[in-house]
């Protein structure tokens, strides 16, 4: 049967897009180096396919038809959008494993998860940022899973955890020796278009990363409410994709996790890795 061999969660903070040319910025260099280590971990896991979890920033999905969870199943996945490219965010193109994408949709129906699907979509930096930095070869088929974390009503923390569990069960039901790695991006506390600083809540960031990294499932479900997210920053529900990873991991502690503090840049950077080899 197929195996989920590695689960990785990273940021897609556009402030970090210049890390490849960190130059004399030691904080960006630390982020770049950690991404380099994660890139090697992913390579060592020898995945055949990447299950990519992220969100859309109103480039593709909007409130005229807003799915809670959507599987991209066109033969090719491309990104990013024109305006994101103009501000230096990376492009990425990959084949989609359409058969596995369809299996996720079909099996989801039998497992109480009704995924929406799309045959025409673009990926924005929530997908292209982690992919370009962790698998720059663009050589593996992917399955993008889009999650609504920006337009309330947003699914609960419990639901994100459950959908993660469901994805793991579906993958482990795939015949053959397929090695699947899950790759996700999300956000810590973040304020966009509001009055507070861009990454306003240091205490939330460290607390929330600890919940995921150490596998405190019930505490996460009880504590990571929409109200708590909103207090930490108006789009902090972007953290929920990491909860989905915790669901995929069955609530097990991560092999490595970090809430990297960048004092000069006044932000924190999350890293999560479950090695299921």
């Amino acid at each position: 049967m197929a195996k989920l061999v590695s689960i990785i969660g990273v940021t897609h903070n556009p402030m970090l897009a210049g890390m490849a040319n960190a130059g004399s910025n030691p904080e960006l260099a630390r982020v770049r180096d950690r991404f380099g280590e994660f890139r090697e971990s992913l390579r060592a896991a020898r995945p055949d396919v990447l299950l990519c979890v992220g969100n859309d920033h109103f480039n593709h999905l909007f409130m005229d038809n807003m799915p809670a969870f959507l599987v991209g199943k066109s033969p090719m996945a491309k990104g990013t959008s024109a305006w994101e490219r103009r501000i230096g965010l990376p492009d990425y193109t990959a084949k989609v494993d359409v058969e596995l994408a369809k299996k996720i949709i079909r099996d989801g129906f039998e497992r109480r998860t009704d995924f929406a699907f799309s045959d025409e979509f673009i990926m924005d930096h929530a997908f292209t940022f982690p992919l370009a930095n962790l698998r720059p070869e663009c050589d593996l088929p992917i399955i993008p899973i889009f999650c609504n974390v920006m337009a309330p009503p947003i699914p609960s923390t419990r639901r994100f955890f459950q959908v993660g569990e469901t994805l793991r069960q579906i993958i482990e039901d795939v015949p053959g020796d397929v090695r699947v790695a899950a790759l996700c991006s999300g956000h810590l506390s973040v304020e966009i278009g509001g009055p507070r600083p861009a990454n306003p809540d240091r205490e939330f960031d460290h607390w929330a990363c600890d919940l995921i990294g150490t596998g405190k499932v019930q505490e996460a479900i009880d504590g990571l409410t929409f109200e708590r997210f909103s207090r930490a920053g108006n789009y902090t529900a972007g953290f929920l994709t990491f909860v989905m990873l915790m669901g995929m991991a069955g609530g097990a502690p991560a092999a490595f996790w970090e809430c990297m503090e960048l004092e000069k840049m006044q932000t924190r950077v999350p890293f999560f890795h479950w090695d299921l080899g």
Binding site: F58, M63, W83, P152, P195, R196
Partner: protein, 103 residues
């Protein structure tokens, strides 16, 4: 309230890859507004590019940030222009805290 209509109109102006909606709003904001179902208050705020009022009405802050760059005719290509824009933007929205933006 028609927050959705406001979000839809602002997204067309601020986030389209196509420059045409942006230019049409700048040339004739009242004409642009005719395509949407606004209340009188929403229409006034949209046509006037009044960022604080729109924010207080509960639009998506993410979308508003892009709309404001057009409405203020901001040049955000350079660092100085971006800092100046953000300073003014934050002043506009600060009095209203963090309103609910659920549609």
């Amino acid at each position: 309230m028609s927050r959705y209509q406001l979000n839809k109109a602002m997204r067309q102006v601020g986030m389209s890859d196509d420059a045409a909606p942006r230019q049409r709003y700048l040339d004739d904001p009242a004409g642009f507004a005719n395509d949407f179902e606004f209340t009188d208050e929403e229409r006034d705020a949209f046509v006037g590019g009044e960022i604080g009022r729109l924010y207080a009405l509960g639009v998506q802050p993410f979308v508003l940030l892009f709309f404001a760059q057009v409405a203020h005719r901001a040049n955000v290509q350079g660092a100085d222009g971006l800092v100046e824009f953000m300073k003014r933007y934050r002043q506009d929205v600060a009095p209203y805290g963090n309103p609910d933006f659920e549609t």
